[in-house]
């Protein structure tokens, strides 16, 4: 039997510091068979292991030419060390785990992305795949919120997405006081009114802090979007990613097993309750 607890060997082959506390690591699986075997769907995550420290779940941004991309913010013991790794550093990797964004089911619809902070990372792969198959979809709206304008990761990428046909890129900064094109002032949810999409034929994908998700749910319902058509990537204290440790239960679902991506209407009763 394959041991589900056993990581595969990986090594840091490149690192880009996106901001002083956010890094994008390029990781290569050491075993050629492991590289061959690895396949991920947009929205899935890996467990990254550091010697002597342990594991954390990190969403997958991309996998190309045997290289995985993970963008990580230094917030805890392990993520701080991950961000501080240098090229050549060895680590362990288990995955991929979890389900994926419903980008196949969303063909022929308007697509709306609402993300805040590093919540943009789990949707990057989905946006890239959608743009690669642009004609399969209708309008595209990308909304991203940050505190300060300089917090925006991948500014050039957002500018490039602006050039994509029928693609609206909306940015908001909540802690800025001065107007500056193309930015809006305020939370990402203030962008919903500016977004142009068919509320009756859209798929919304969201990721970010939970208060932002709750505010987005209210904002979307207010303009007539059914929560049946909204999806969210959720986070809990995942320690095993195997559906065994129990930490990531949010009411009924284990986030690692049935998620991390949920139809908002399905998870709403638990998600809106404090304490689950």
């Amino acid at each position: 039997m394959n041991d589900p607890w056993l990581p595969q060997q990986a090594v840091v082959v490149d690192k880009v510091m996106e901001t002083p506390d956010v890094a994008t690591l390029s990781l290569q699986l050491v075993e050629p068979e492991a590289q061959q075997r690895f396949h991920f769907d947009c929205g899935q995550f890996n467990m990254l292991y550091l010697y002597g420290l342990g594991e954390v779940p990190i969403s997958i941004m991309d996998y190309q030419h045997g290289c995985l991309q993970h963008t990580i913010r230094a917030v805890g013991r392990i993520s701080r060390t991950l961000v501080a790794l240098e090229t050549g550093a060895p680590l362990g990797l288990r995955g991929p785990y979890g389900n994926s964004w419903p980008i196949e089911d969303a063909r022929g619809r308007d697509l709306v992305f609402i993300t805040a902070g590093l919540g943009c990372a789990p949707v990057i792969a989905a946006i890239r795949r959608i743009i690669a198959a642009r004609t399969d979809y209708q309008r595209l709206v990308i909304m991203q919120g940050v505190k300060h304008r300089e917090d925006l990761l991948w500014q050039e990428q957002y500018e490039r997405w602006r050039e994509v046909p029928d693609c609206q890129v909306l940015l908001a900064a909540s802690e800025e006081r001065q107007e500056q094109f193309p930015w809006s002032l305020g939370m990402v949810t203030t962008l919903i009114d500016k977004a142009q999409f068919d509320v009756n034929n859209c798929t919304v994908m969201m990721c970010g802090p939970e208060p932002m998700i709750r505010a987005s749910m209210r904002g979307l319902e207010a303009v007539g979007v059914s929560l049946q058509n909204c999806f969210v990537s959720l986070e809990r204290n995942m320690q095993c990613a195997l559906g065994l440790c129990g930490h990531c239960q949010m009411g009924t679902p284990f986030i690692c097993r049935e998620g991390p991506i949920f139809r908002v209407a399905d998870i709403k009763e638990w998600f809106l309750l404090e304490g689950y």
Binding site: M1, P4, R257, G275
Partner: protein
């Protein structure tokens, strides 16, 4: 077909001999620190002959009685859980080697293990743990390695503790499916029922006698006696009232005021499955081991999420534990997560009674929801 026979009391040691000669270690009940616990035992002399347990909320006492029955106690402090889902389990060992890290799986040599004395509630809990650890997408190899080595000898309960409510959960006092042998202990000996091929292979080698009509009548009467229980959950599926109670935090305040959030209830619960993963290194840092340890939803760290704790208050913690056990389990595993063993009542330091609390919640929800 199940085969039943009578084994005189003085020949129980023959069962131990057979198990030993078949290569099994025997795990059975024995008295330790004032409680009945499962330990590896070698002879029938280590069984708790004549010991009876008295259980109540926050209370467990043993009393020595004159009779020599081995299984007249009702509940062990822990069920079978620690023997399969061990409180501490190494998962993987990492070593630094030239050019990287090497990862080694942890494989345990588990001896063939015969467990004697298991009750209906214990075995129902085992089936639930099997469901969690073995029947998902990623079966746990450590649980599996131990589970595969088990031979199960159940005992039908002939009395109930004041904390028992297995009749209302449908898990006792008789032993259900999944055992190899089931014993009914009578004054002169045991009614032994073989429920599997392995059980039958054991039974035919024991110095058994045919069953007499009196044996059946007597054991039936004793089992009936055990069905008289003071406690009962309102129904087996409590999703409807508990999902209503979930939405009203004020209903949970009175129990939260008493709950110490110590997690004893989860530790002794035979179905609670939560664990955390720690990383451990020796002083010379020559290797690093991932170790799984029991955890409970009563710990702050259990619901820690970047910068905050999802369940900080006793209201949220107790509500999580109880709604999960009695309601959410139905949605996750198609039945309640409670088998009525009553351990959470007995071993709660402040004597919180899951049955009483559940009845109260169901009643208060009803009075607050006109039309329900």
């Amino acid at each position: 077909m199940n085969q039943t026979a009578f084994l005189p009391h003085r020949h129980l040691d023959k069962l131990f001999d057979l198990l030993h000669s078949d290569g099994f270690r025997v795990v059975g009940p024995t008295s330790e620190q004032g409680a009945i616990v499962y330990r590896e035992i070698d002879t029938v002399d280590q069984l708790p002959a004549g010991l009876v347990d008295h259980q109540a909320p926050g209370r467990y006492r043993l009393e020595q009685q004159a009779h020599g029955r081995y299984f007249d106690w009702v509940g062990t402090a822990q069920g079978l859980k620690p023997w399969l889902f061990t409180p501490e389990q190494p998962l993987m060992v990492a070593r630094e080697v030239a050019g990287g890290l090497r990862f080694e799986a942890v494989r345990e040599e588990v001896p063939l293990t015969a467990v004697i004395g298991l009750r209906g509630c214990d075995l129902a809990a085992l089936a639930l743990q099997d469901r969690h650890f073995l029947q998902g997408e990623y079966p746990d190899p450590h649980y599996q390695a131990r589970r595969e080595q088990l031979l199960l000898i159940g005992v039908n309960c002939h009395r109930s503790a004041a904390t028992c409510f297995c009749v209302s959960t449908g898990d006792g006092p008789e032993v259900g499916e999944g055992t190899d042998l089931v014993l009914d202990e009578l004054d002169q000996g045991f009614m032994v029922q073989a429920c599997s091929a392995r059980g039958r292979a054991l039974l035919v080698r024991l110095p058994i006698r045919p069953l007499a009509g009196g044996h059946k009548r007597r054991s039936k009467a004793l089992r009936k006696q055990a069905r008289v229980q003071q406690r009962a959950l309102p129904s087996r599926d409590l999703r409807k009232p508990l999902y209503l109670a979930r939405d009203d935090e004020t209903l949970w305040q009175s129990v939260a005021d008493r709950c110490l959030t110590c997690g004893n209830c989860a530790a002794v619960c035979p179905t609670c499955f939560c664990s955390r993963v720690d990383e451990e290194s020796p002083l010379d840092a020559s290797e690093s081991t991932q170790v799984r340890r029991w955890d409970t939803c009563f710990n702050d760290e259990h619901s820690y999420l970047v910068g905050h704790v999802v369940r900080k208050s006793a209201v949220h913690k107790y509500r999580q534990w109880l709604t999960h056990k009695l309601a959410i389990w139905h949605d996750q595993y198609d039945r309640s997560g409670c088998t009525g063993c009553g351990r959470c009542i007995t071993w709660c330091p402040v004597g919180i009674d899951i049955v009483e609390e559940t009845r109260r919640l169901c009643t208060e929800v009803k009075t607050r929801e006109p039309g329900e």
